[in-house]
Structures are given as C-alpha cells and as structure tokens.
C-alpha cells in the first residue's frame, strides 16, 4: 500500500522533477533555506554597518554605500527573511500538524516560492550593480520619489516589495484554505494545535495588510516612472499618504513576523514540560485579538509628523492595549512552565531566551507608545534597540528553537546539542550586549541611519562596545549555521518522535515520505500522540493511484467529500517567470505590464487546463446531487 502511495505522490528524480516540485515539505524547506541565506546576507550588511560605526568619523564605508547597506539590511531582514521564513515554516509544518498530505493548492505554493526567489535575486542583483535601494526600508517620499532618488535604485525596492508580497499573499491563501478544509477528521476548530491557530491568524493578517504596501509601492513606482502625482504636494498629492499607507501595512507585518514565533513556543513547550499549554482558549483568543488590534495602531510610527493630538492619544491607547493579549499568552506559558519537570534541550533554551529578551522589547514598546517619550526617542538608536529586541527576541529566538526542534523531522537527523547550547548562550549574550547599549545611545541623541558621527558627540565607547558584542552574536548564529550544515549529513539519526511530542507531525517518519501519512489519522483530542494508541483511528478508502485526499467541514472537521490535489507541474515556474519579466520590464517602460498580461494568458491557460485521466461526466443526466 505504501509503495503505491509513494509512486503516486513522489515527483520523480532529476532537475525537471526538482523544478516541478509541489510537495509542501520540499517547498517549505526551500523557503526556509533561501530565507536563512538572505538572513546571512543581511547579517553581513549589519556587520559592515557596525564596523563603520565603531569609530567616530570612520572612513571605512562612505555615505552612499552605507545608505545602500542599511536600506538593503532592513529590506532583506523584513521582506526577504522574516516573513518568508515564517511562510516556509507554515508551508512545511501546517499540513503535517493537521494530518493532511499536502496543501490545498500545491502549485500555488510552488509559484509563491519562485516569485519570492525572483524578488530576492532582483534586490541583490540590483545591489551588486550599485542599484541597491538607498532611501531606507520604509522609503519615505519625497526622498524616495522621482525628484530625490535618481536612477533605478528605489524602483528595484518597489518591485522587490511587489514580488515578496505577492508570494506572501499566495502562501496566506494556501494556508487558510488548507487549515479550513483539509484538517484530519475529528480535528475540530477547538482541537487545532496553537501553532496552526497562529498561522491561520497570520494568514488573514497577510490578506488584509499586504495589499496596502502593494498599492503604496505601485503608486511610488508610477510616480517615478510615468509621473503620476500621488506623492507630489504641489499637484494635490500628499507625503503623509505614503506614511499612512506604508505603516498601515508595516505594523501588521511585524505582527505577521512575530505571531508565528508565539505559535512555535506553544508547540515547543509541551514536549519539554510534559504538559499541555495551559489556557488553550486564552492563547487562541489572545492570538485572534492581536490579529485585529494590530490594524489599529500604525500611527504610533508618525507621532513626530505633527498630526492632531487627539488622534495621537487614540493611537497611544490602542498601542498600549495590544500588549494585553501578548501579556496573557506569556502568563499562560509561565503557568505551563511553573515547576514543571523541564528538559533543558536547545529548543527550550531558546524559548527561555525569548522570555528574557522579548519582554524587554515589549516594555520599550509600551514606552514608545506614549507620545511624550516617542517624541524624544523616535528615529533614534533607542527605536533600533526596541525593534531588534521584539523581532530577534520575539521571532528569531523562537525560530531558532523551532529549527532545533523540527530539524529532525525535516531531515531525519538531530542537530548537535552541545553546539546548540553553545550557540544559544553566545547568541543570547551577544544579542543583549549588542543592542542594550543602543537604548542609551538613543537617549543621548544618536539618530538612526547615520553613517558616521562627530568625535565630540560622546557616542564612541558605546558604539565600539556594541560592535565588539555584535561579533559575539554573529559567532552564535554562525555556530547554528555550521551545526545545520554538518548535522544535515552526519547528525545523529532521528526516529519519528525524538522529543516525545504531542502533535501529529511526529506521527510520520523523519523525513516524511512523499505522501506524509500512510493512513490519514482521525483526531479526538488536542494532543493526538499523547492519547493511548487504542483511541487513535485512521481514514480508509482513499484511492492510492491518484492524489486523493479527504475534505472536511470547517468547524467540526467531519469528512465531507474527496478531492484530487494537483500534481507536479512546470506552470508555477513559468508563471513566476512571466510575473518576473513583466514587473522587471515595467521598471524600465510602462509597456512591461501589457507584455506580462500577453505572456500571462497562455501560461494561465496552461496552468488551469485539466490534465490527467478525466473522470467521465454522466453527460445530460441530472448530475450527482451532492450528498
């Protein structure tokens, strides 16, 4: 039975199979590996910036290169690492956690990866040809506009945004439909793992937040290329339109990056505390509340712009309120941890590191929500410290914990524990020593995005200390990179459930076969693998010669009907290539889009045209009434 399934579900060998890949496990791994390569590139840019800032009036990096470095560092970390790595983890883990054999739209996930890859390569090819963006990852107009940003630098940025957001939107649609319709029978909405809840909320946030930046970057690209006046005040445009449109997207974006981190903690804790996360309902409602309130806080990025005080006070209140759900989640985890028989493996260390680090960022966030404090520390190194505490503390720490936790599942080999612990301690100490001094620098008046500073400014010692400490942080991260590279081939072999965890992904062998589950499980509780084997059921009756899966109802996951999932196909790559050509050509001439549409139509027809053996239609009979 299994080799029949394997024959049906595996794509075959060779380059053409590699390009036509649609299995969520492979595409998820590609997302994560590519995102970590961009993370390394972003890290190198950060190291260059720290070296330039280590001494006053340093001539190592000129202003033009420095501006390109910090813009590419910001854009890489936000658009090419943080969101895509969460997309990758979601693509890899969600189907496994809900007992499905693949995502609902397999070819759409392949398209999502290829479009992301095109966006990333566009930014770095641009950067290597001195055409990297240089007006900041937020690209405020008029600096990023046609009058003050000559050449194609900001166009590269705007198109990269369009690619990465297109990719995120495609993954979000995929995840929502998979979570809604392909859950294993019995996994009702209240038995879904908390990480799946996090990805569901994040997917909806992506669907409603990303269009804002796609519209904003398209308006900027049109302003620069064909001379529209969205951001030209003399002709009726408005620079604050850009800020509102961008931050309406960018604040939900940071929660899109951060909520999967919280979900991963809820997934890691049970394995190392031998307890289910306390307050399942509280954590779920907190995640959903954070998802909604995240859309109502964006003006706290614009307190210094001189907007009316009443509006600012509203946004102070909403920015303070959003900490309550996250606080409740923390209290639930603390209650879960309280005097539990902990096993201090690396994943748990990174979760504990999250507590120590993220809470600092959360509290400086509360301080930044107050207008009087924000007027002093906005756009200074204080904010740089805050954002790194919440992003590295809140998302990268749980992510590294997740890498150590799910690496055995993805590759079949355990990561080295000693190297993991060493990497954790170096990362924790290096991170705090690098970024805590930046709080003081910000209060002492050091603005953000400055390529140098005067000898008499009094910022020298803290900057030097931060640069040295950033070496320790880099070393910590490097050890995890080496650990992955070495253990990927020579790590200790892992069996199906090395951590004795409770969720479904540990029911399949490591690495999972092409069809994931030999028999799709039925679920009867929140911790399926901690049930006695007798209580676990299986689904039978699915065809093994076709990619057939069972579609279940939305709330109770009762079996509803069977459907055939799409198989390996070259069309996603073709569609991504057409999207790439269309948008890159439209950086140079407005005729790029009509070209894209003209090329796109045949590709779309190729993609949607039915393939494989048709199930004959009983033509003209009154149709098989849906049961």
């Amino acid at each position: 039975m299994n080799d029949a399934l394997a024959a049906t579900w595996s794509p075959g060998r060779g380059l053409s199979a590699w390009l036509r890949e649609v299995r969520h496990t492979e595409i998820g791994k590609r997302f994560v590996v590519t995102a970590f390569l961009f993370f390394a590139a972003g890290g190198i840019e950060a190291a260059l910036m720290r070296l330039q800032l280590s001494r006053p009036a340093n001539a190592m990096v000129g202003p033009d290169l420095y501006n390109r470095l910090f813009t590419t560092h910001g854009s890489t970390m936000m658009f090419l690492f943080a969101v895509p790595v969460m997309q990758g983890v979601g693509t890899f883990i969600v189907p496994l956690m809900i007992g499905a054999r693949n995502l609902a739209f397999p070819r759409l996930s392949a398209y999502s990866y290829y479009v992301y890859l095109v966006g990333g390569l566009l930014l770095y090819v641009g950067f290597s040809f001195r055409a990297g963006p240089d007006a900041g990852w937020f690209a405020y107009t008029p600096l990023s506009g046609p009058a003050f940003s000559p050449g194609k630098r900001m166009d590269v940025w705007a198109q990269m945004i369009t690619f990465t957001e297109l990719s995120a939107l495609a993954t979000a649609v995929n995840l929502v439909v998979t979570i809604f319709k392909l859950r294993a029978p019995g996994m009702s909405i209240t038995r879904m793992p908390l990480l799946v809840w996090a990805f569901l909320v994040v997917a909806f946030m992506i669907i409603f937040a990303m269009p804002a930046v796609v519209v904003a970057s398209s308006c900027l690209a049109l302003d620069r290329l064909v001379g529209t006046h969205f951001f030209n005040h003399a002709e009726g445009g408005d620079h604050l339109l850009w800020q509102h449109m961008f931050w309406f997207f960018a604040h939900p974006e940071v929660y899109i990056i951060f909520l999967p981190g919280l979900g991963m903690i809820s997934a890691i804790l049970p394995a190392f505390t031998r307890r289910r996360v306390l307050g399942y309902d509280v954590v779920v409602l907190a995640t959903v509340t954070t998802g909604f309130v995240a859309f109502g806080v964006w003006v706290h990025h614009m307190f210094a712009a001189g907007l009316p005080q009443l509006g600012d006070s509203y946004f102070t209140a909403s920015s303070l309120i959003i900490t309550i759900p996250t606080g409740l989640q923390l209290f639930c985890w603390l209650a879960t941890l309280w005097r539990a028989p902990l096993r201090f493996a690396t994943p748990l260390l990174f979760v504990l590191g999250f507590f120590v680090t993220f809470v600092v960022g959360g509290l400086t966030g509360v301080m930044l929500a107050a207008v009087p404090i924000d007027l002093q520390v906005h756009d200074t190194m204080f904010v740089v410290a805050h954002l790194h505490y919440v992003l590295i503390g809140g998302a990268v720490f749980p992510l590294l914990g997740g890498v150590y936790y799910w690496f055995p599942k993805a590759t079949g080999r355990l990561l080295n524990e000693r190297a993991g612990k060493l990497s954790f301690w170096l990362t924790l100490l290096g991170f705090n020593a690098t970024f805590f001094p930046l709080h003081m620098l910000g209060l002492h008046g050091m603005p953000r995005r400055v390529y140098t500073y005067l000898p008499g400014s009094g910022w020298h010692h803290l900057n030097l200390f931060a640069t040295v400490a950033s070496g320790v942080l880099a070393l910590g991260v490097l050890i995890t990179f080496l650990n992955v590279i070495v253990s990927h081939r020579r790590g200790q072999r892992a069996e199906a459930n090395p951590w004795q965890a409770d969720s479904l992904e540990w029911a399949v062998p490591s690495p999972p076969p092409p069809y994931n589950f030999a028999d799709i499980p039925t679920v009867s509780s929140r911790a399926p693998l901690w049930e006695e084997p007798s209580a676990r059921g299986v689904v039978t009756g699915l065809a093994t010669d076709q990619r057939e899966v069972v579609v279940t109802t939305l709330l109770d996951a009762a079996p509803d009907h069977r459907t055939i999932l799409a198989g390996p196909s070259i069309w996603p790559l073709a569609a991504a290539a057409v999207t790439g050509v269309g948008f890159i050509v439209s950086m140079f001439t407005p005729w790029g889009l009509p070209v894209a549409v003209a090329l796109g139509v045949p590709v779309m027809v190729g993609w949607f045209w039915p393939k494989g053996r048709p199930t004959p239609l009983h033509a003209e009979q009154p149709g098989t009434k849906a049961a």
């Binding site: 609902a104 739209f105 759409l108 979000a172 649609v173 439909v177 809604f180 392909l182 029978p185 019995g186 009702s188 038995r191 669907i207 409603f208 269009p211 796609v214 308006c219 049109l222 302003d223 064909v226 001379g227 529209t228 006046h229 969205f230 030209n232 003399a234 002709e235 009726g236 445009g237 408005d238 339109l241 509102h244 039925t522 679920v523 009867s524 929140r526 209580a535 299986v538 689904v539 009756g541 579609v551 079996p559 009907h561 069977r562 459907t563 055939i564 779309m604 949607f608 045209w609 039915p610 048709p614 199930t615 239609l617 033509a619 009979q621 009154p622 149709g623 098989t624 849906a626 049961a627």
Partner: protein
Amino acid sequence: MSATANNPAAPRSLDVSGLPSHAFGHRAPLWWGVLLMVAIEATTMALLLVSYLYLRGNEDAWRPVRLGWPTLEVAIVQMALLLASVLPTMGAVRAARDGRLKATRARLLLATALGAAMLVLRCFEIRLLPFRWDTDARGSVFWMTFGLHTAHVLTGVLENAMMLVLLYRGRVEEKHFGDVEAGALLWYFSVVEWLPAMALLYFDPLLWPT
C-alpha cells in the same frame, strides 16, 4: 469552547470511499481560495478609494474635472452592462449546480459577451477621458482605480472565455461545474466593486463648485 464533551470519540477506521468526489459552494476548497482572492482585491480597491478620499481632503489643490457628455454616459452604459451580466451568471451557476451542461454553457456565454461588450466600451472611454494620469493627483488616483477595475474585469472575461472553450470542446468533468461557480464569485466582485468606485470617480466631481 471545550470540545471533548460533545465530540464523539472518532471511530476506529473511517471509510470515506462512499463520499462524493465533488462539492459546491463553501464546502469546496476552490470556492474559499477565490473568496480569499476577492478579499485581497477588495482590500486593494478599498485602499485606493480611501486614498482618493484622503487626497480629496486637501481642498486647495483638488480641482476635479467634471465628466460630461459622452464620457459619463459611456461609463453609465458600462455599469448597466456589468449589472446586466449578473443575471446570466447567476443562471449559469444554478445550471452548473444541477449539472445541466447546455444551460450552463449558454448562460455563461451570454454573461461573458456582456462583459466583453463592457470592455470594448471601456477602450473607447480611455480615449474620451479628458485628463491623463500625470495631470494631477486626482487624475492619478482615477486612472489607477480605473486600471485596477479594468484588470479585474479582463481577468473575469478571460477566465470565463477559457471555461467556455472547455465546456464547449474540452473533456468536461464534474469539478468544472464547481469552477464555474468559483469564477462567478470573482465576477460578482468585479461588478459590485465598481459601484462605490464609480460614485467617487464619476459623480463626486459633480458635487464640487465649478
């Protein structure tokens, strides 16, 4: 929200071979996929209309051009065509749910023809519009919203056209009736989104003193 009480323990082995191989409406994954895509496009259109209202706010530079004959009339006819195409689309969906191939094909053809007619009129309107995208901010927002909606309608017409080719000549399968319904979702959205957009783009200038 506690689940363990009312959910019966799952049976030992669940045979699903008896289940239908296709479903309509919210039970089908494709329907949800198209609904979410409509949500994305709706958010995009809503943001453009919000930025139109935002830019309309600074009155000193806002000089909307009143659209007179024939541009306004051509736009109104297009809206009528779009609204008219909703009926045959709904008819096609009803026929698709009943599996009646001939009726589905005919009604979908009518709906697509009306959509195509609207696109032809739109090409005329492009030449009739008295301002360009680089005239001023209002022109820019107008043309961007105009372009986005045209893209939506074009996508809908092309998708319906492909579906028609399949229904007339291809090997029709059960699930293709579901695709007709999913395509209809996108078409309903393309029609409905143009109502608020038209109010703002075409009729709002009439409120401004000349």
